[in-house]
């Protein structure tokens, strides 16, 4: 492997076709991200993985690595912008970590800790989003959706079911369920689906499993997100 680029001064090797994110992850360097998952085609929508390549900002999950690139990642400026994006996600939905069963296993919460987010900063939207509890084994808490589209991609590309989609535009974008009733119970969604395992936050949750893991043994109790080898997999529901 002779191709290399520089990431915060560290030499990162890569292979043809790899993105900056893939090469960095392989080399053990953490770039904050929410919509990226190593098993899926990148989406480039959350913008948390934004880095500076030769002085210009770009999403590291979609940008192919090339020899001689000078990439900035862990800088005060970029982390400040990532923190602001994370704060916006917190106020746009209803993220009440104290009573959320995903707490300690949540990628959004872990990312906020990683970025040193001390408060939401912005005014809360407090949207009114009823949960969908119609399915016998799962419920969907739309309050916590960050529109990463991982469930959409998993259901479409792996499960071949198209249970989920993002609907609406701009600030009105929201997750929908592919059934005439709009209810999860009226789809063929099941426990075995990949889409049941990929939600990085507390939206798609298996019923009656909440709080089964004690404090101290949850994913991000054991190690912060930057020290996890594959946070997406660790954080997913078992």
């Amino acid at each position: 492997m002779s191709q290399k680029f520089s990431l915060d001064g560290q030499v990162i090797p890569f292979e043809d076709g790899e993105t900056i994110m893939q090469a960095a992850t392989k080399a053990g360097v953490f770039i904050p991200h929410l919509c990226y998952h190593p098993e899926f085609k990148p989406h480039g929508s959350c913008k948390l993985c934004t880095v500076k390549v030769n002085g210009r900002q770009t999403a590291s999950c979609t940008m192919r690595a090339s020899t001689g690139m000078v990439v900035e990642n862990n800088t005060e400026e970029l982390n400040g912008e990532r923190r602001a994006l994370t704060q916006m996600l917190f106020v746009e939905g209803n993220h009440f970590c104290p009573s959320c069963e995903k707490s300690g296993n949540c990628q959004l919460q872990a990312t906020a800790y990683h970025l040193g987010m001390m408060s939401p900063h912005y005014d809360h939207f407090f949207p009114n989003r009823p949960v969908d509890a119609t399915h016998p084994d799962f419920f969907i808490d739309f309050n916590r959706c960050i529109l990463c589209s991982l469930c959409v991609r998993a259901s479409r590309d792996v499960d071949k079911k198209n249970v989920f989609a993002l609907s609406g535009r701009g600030i009105k974008t929201h997750l929908i369920v592919n059934a005439a009733s709009g209810n999860l119970a009226d789809t063929d969604f099941s426990l075995a689906d990949k889409a049941a395992q990929v939600c990085p936050v507390g939206v798609i949750l298996q019923k009656r499993q909440g709080f089964a893991v004690p404090i101290g043994e949850r994913t991000y109790d054991k190690a912060p997100i930057a020290a996890q080898r594959e946070p997406e997999m660790e954080g997913a529901p078992k």
Binding site: P98, S99, V131, K207, R208, Q209, F211, P214, G216
Partner: protein
């Protein structure tokens, strides 16, 4: 009875004195007193001015989330809400009996909480009044003053509370707002190292708890004229009572007695509490007024908490606390003691019992077991969980739909049960100490001392959402009513 002081006939002619906020209590409340030109007392009210709304926003949430969410009502005794909700959800998932390990772990957590909360109240909040006097120098009448004048007592108070918090941390995962009780059981047991860490200090904790009982007993007995009569009123009292009539903070049947100690009801399964208790709402406070249905709202109000529990049980299962209970009953002379200041004495007897129970449990190998979850039974749509919280009987009542979502929640919090009792004590003190006198800070502190005796948690106790009788009046600049709306 001093209930006639609830509402003055002509409040517009009276001067208003407010104690706002009431200090050294949990949560935010205020007292208003209406006086005439001769400083005669015409109206006294303890108002709870916080607004919470947990009963409303828990609706539409999954039932397994409830024990973790509702404990956020409080930072002092969240364990009570965590466990009361868990007990209700045990019923929902069809579990009538927990595994021995799970029940003992929950009990250990609860005794830890009882210890820390009682220590906090006695040493940090009330000891300044009891050690220095109710109208002593206000700059000294606080925990810092106690630490300077009585460093050993202050130290013991801090370390007793710390130990209780450690018990909670080890059993629930965090000192405040842990997550270990789940519907049907617990999610963690104790390791040998965790048990041994607690065992190291427990004998000292029991010894200090005995000292605390001796201290308050001495203070009380030294001044019977004050301690037996300050704010005293007669009332019914209620608590849950355990197996064989034992004092039991975690589980039992409801028992209520009248002011002479005669049983009103006994052996009542708390799943049917609403056949025995009702709640009244008044326009001037967010806190509801519960009463015993068979006696009606005027005569059916009651008190809960340590003074009720220690006199309601037949005996206490641990030897040191039982010895102290007997001494207390002997001192009362065979009749129920109704003095609010006797709450402090009984509270310390309970703290001693909690310390002894922790000691017993730490010697029980069941705590180290791994069988934490009972097998779920037939799913239920409604469940009630009741526990004796540090401040008294705590009711959690939920209905859950076929999709596992909560559709109804009703909480009767310990302090709510004591609402009328606290108002009576405050009116009694106001009439005795303020009536016809110039109001001073020291005299107003007497009112607060009466409230403090009940150890109220005002932030937990406000749950009248959507039920408050409301009156809104729009008046023009001349004071003429333009429009009025009312909801009763």
């Amino acid at each position: 009875m001093t209930s006639q002081l609830e509402t003055a006939q002509h409040p517009e002619r009276l001067r208003r004195v407010a104690i706002d906020p009431v200090s050294r209590v949990e949560g935010h409340g205020k007292v208003t007193i209406l006086l005439d030109e001769q400083n005669k007392v015409h109206q006294v009210r303890l108002h709870i001015v916080e607004f919470r709304g947990f009963e409303k926003f828990i609706q539409g949430r999954p039932y397994w989330e409830v024990p973790v969410m509702v404990q956020r009502l409080c930072g002092i005794c969240p364990v009570s809400h965590h466990l009361a909700a868990s007990k209700a959800m045990d019923i929902i998932v069809g579990v009538k009996k927990l595994t021995p390990t799970a029940e003992k772990l929950r009990r250990l957590m609860h005794y830890g909480q009882m210890l820390q909360s009682h220590a906090l109240h006695f040493f940090h909040l009330s000891s300044p009044d009891l050690l220095f006097g109710f109208d002593s120098d206000v700059t000294r009448r606080n925990i810092v003053g106690v630490a300077m004048a009585h460093p050993e007592i202050a130290k013991q108070g801090v370390l007793l509370r710390k130990f209780g918090q450690e018990v909670i941390r080890i059993t629930s995962g965090k000192r405040i707002h842990g997550t270990s009780a789940v519907p049907g059981g617990m999610n963690k047991s104790l390791t040998i190292a965790e048990r041994d860490e607690l065992l190291k200090n427990i004998y000292q904790i029991v010894a200090w708890s005995r000292d605390a009982v001796h201290l308050i007993k001495k203070v009380h007995i030294q001044d019977p004229g004050l301690y037996n009569s300050f704010g005293t009123f007669r009332s019914n009292y209620m608590s849950i009572v355990g197996h064989n009539g034992d004092l039991d903070f975690y589980h039992g049947k409801l028992r209520a007695r009248d002011d002479n100690g005669k049983i009103i009801f006994d052996n009542v399964d708390y799943q049917h509490y609403d056949r025995y208790l009702e709640e009244e709402v008044k326009s001037w406070t967010y806190m509801k007024f519960p009463f015993i249905t068979s006696l009606g709202k005027d005569k059916g109000w009651y008190k809960v908490g340590p003074l009720a529990r220690v006199q309601n049980c037949n005996q206490i299962s641990t030897p040191f606390a039982e010895h102290e209970r007997k001494e207390f009953v002997d001192y009362a002379g065979g009749a129920p003691m109704h003095a609010p200041l006797a709450y402090h004495w009984t509270r310390m007897i309970e703290m001693l019992h909690a310390a002894e129970e922790i000691k017993n449990l730490l010697h029980d190998d069941d705590l180290l077991g791994n069988n934490l979850m009972a097998v779920p039974g037939e799913r239920q749509r409604e469940g009630v969980g009741v526990i004796e919280a540090p401040r008294g009987t705590l009711f959690h009542h939920y209905r859950v739909d076929e999709n596992d979502m909560v559709t109804m929640a009703n909480l009767i919090v310990s302090t709510t049960n004591n609402n009328q009792a606290m108002n009576e004590a405050v009116r009694n003190v106001a009439q005795r100490y303020l009536h016809g006198r110039e109001v001073t800070e020291g005299l107003l502190n007497h009112v607060e001392v009466a409230i403090r005796a009940f150890d109220p948690c005002l932030s937990c106790a406000t749950h009248a959402l959507g039920k408050m009788p409301l009156e809104v009046e729009l008046v023009d600049v001349e004071g003429q009513q333009v429009h009025a709306l009312s909801r009763s």
